[in-house]
């Protein structure tokens, strides 16, 4: 396994991955600017329409909690079109892991239990739900990657402020393997993760955002 920084963009760079957007705050409270993007075309407001294609799309349900609040569970199912019907799938359910030493970790309810950091997404190769967003699943569907954050040994949130360390896991669900990527190859703060055919791409936290590839 090797790790190399593919490119370092300047300090103001912000990856447009949702996790990093939240962390780095592309939303600002700076007042008053002017104008907008240069763009053309008439505005349009979309309305429900079945369209002409047919098929099935795996979908996750938006959480019902308010933005920024933790959810008790996530679910999903299948949306069929053009009938526009949705069927929830109990196998899509994921729940937060109760471990004070690991943050932001979710587990599938379905067995064998898989661990991840969100989702769920449906893996067409393995024909099962995974506890990660679709972008964190390898293109061939055989592996996925997730991040968790762990507290130092012997410390818990009740003992005071804790600096959690990120860990990156690569999971082979069929083999039941969960491999931890050596921490030296990781940035201090992982902002976003994307599993591509040539490796796993990480965005480092702000400031000084960079994109880093972890080859496999």
């Amino acid at each position: 396994m090797r790790s190399d920084v593919v490119t370092r963009i300047a300090q103001w760079a912000v990856l447009s991955l949702s996790v990093l957007i939240t962390a780095c705050g592309s939303a600002t409270s700076t007042p008053a600017a002017s104008s907008s993007a240069s763009r053309s075309g008439a505005p349009a407001t979309a309305s429900p329409s079945s369209g002409s294609t047919s098929g099935e799309l795996a979908v996750a349900a938006f959480s019902s909690s308010a933005p920024g609040q933790l959810d008790a569970a996530h679910g999903g199912g299948f949306f069929r079109f053009p009938s526009a019907t949705y069927s929830a799938d109990s196998a899509a359910q994921i729940t937060p892991l109760s471990d004070p030493h690991r943050l932001d970790v979710w587990q599938t309810v379905a067995r064998p239990v898989l661990t991840g950091d969100g989702g769920p997404s449906y893996d067409r190769t393995l024909q099962r739900w995974l506890p990660v967003p679709a972008s964190q699943v390898s293109p061939d569907g055989t592996h996925y990657v997730y991040e968790d954050r762990i507290s130092p040994p012997g410390l818990t949130p009740s003992t005071g402020p804790i600096m959690y360390s990120p860990r990156l896991h690569v999971v082979d669900p069929a083999a039941g393997q969960d491999r931890i990527v050596p921490s030296l190859s990781l940035p201090i703060a992982v902002g976003g993760v994307s599993y591509q055919a040539d490796g796993i791409y990480l965005s480092a936290g702000c400031p000084g955002a960079s994109i880093r590839r972890v080859g496999l």
Binding site: A13, T28, P31, T45, P48, A60, S135
Partner: protein, 143 residues
């Protein structure tokens, strides 16, 4: 968003004390070269939010979410600084993206929102296919 060997970023080019001035930029992951696609200066009042690349169409062109106050629009960037608005909605930004999921399957890009599921293809345009709050979640190889 990372796809097809490129990372799509929304870059705030303004100094820290200045009003934000964003540029949608693609970064070639093979050599680190970058190219600007769309300049965005969001009008701000008490709160302003920058753009996000929320998906790609079947031709690899970025689909960009833009905020203007309590309104959000989805735009297809045809070429550098040439964008076409596909739809607009009244919404509260509340610090999170309006569109989620951004999955391209064949020639259709699917998006989820809290107000419904959308599909976009160049031939059929942008369509809201459901009022349910769903996020596209397909991964792996199609059977």
């Amino acid at each position: 968003m990372i796809a097809n060997g490129s990372a799509w970023t929304a870059v705030n080019q303004a100094p820290s004390s200045s009003p934000p001035r964003f540029e949608i930029t693609s970064v070639d992951l093979r050599d680190g070269s970058s190219a600007g696609w769309l300049a965005v200066i969001p009008p701000c009042s008490s709160f302003c939010r920058g753009p996000d690349v929320v998906g790609l169409d079947g031709s690899g062109r970025p689909l960009v979410e833009l905020w203007v106050g309590d309104g959000v629009s989805l735009n297809r960037v045809m070429s550098p600084d040439q964008a076409h608005e596909l739809g607009s909605w009244a919404a509260q930004s509340e610090g999170e993206r309006y569109f989620a999921g951004g999955i391209l399957e064949q020639s259709t890009t699917w998006f989820g929102t809290r107000k419904g599921l959308f599909a976009y293809s160049p031939g059929e345009g942008l369509r809201q296919v459901s009022n349910l709050p769903l996020i596209p979640a397909d991964s792996g190889v199609q059977p």
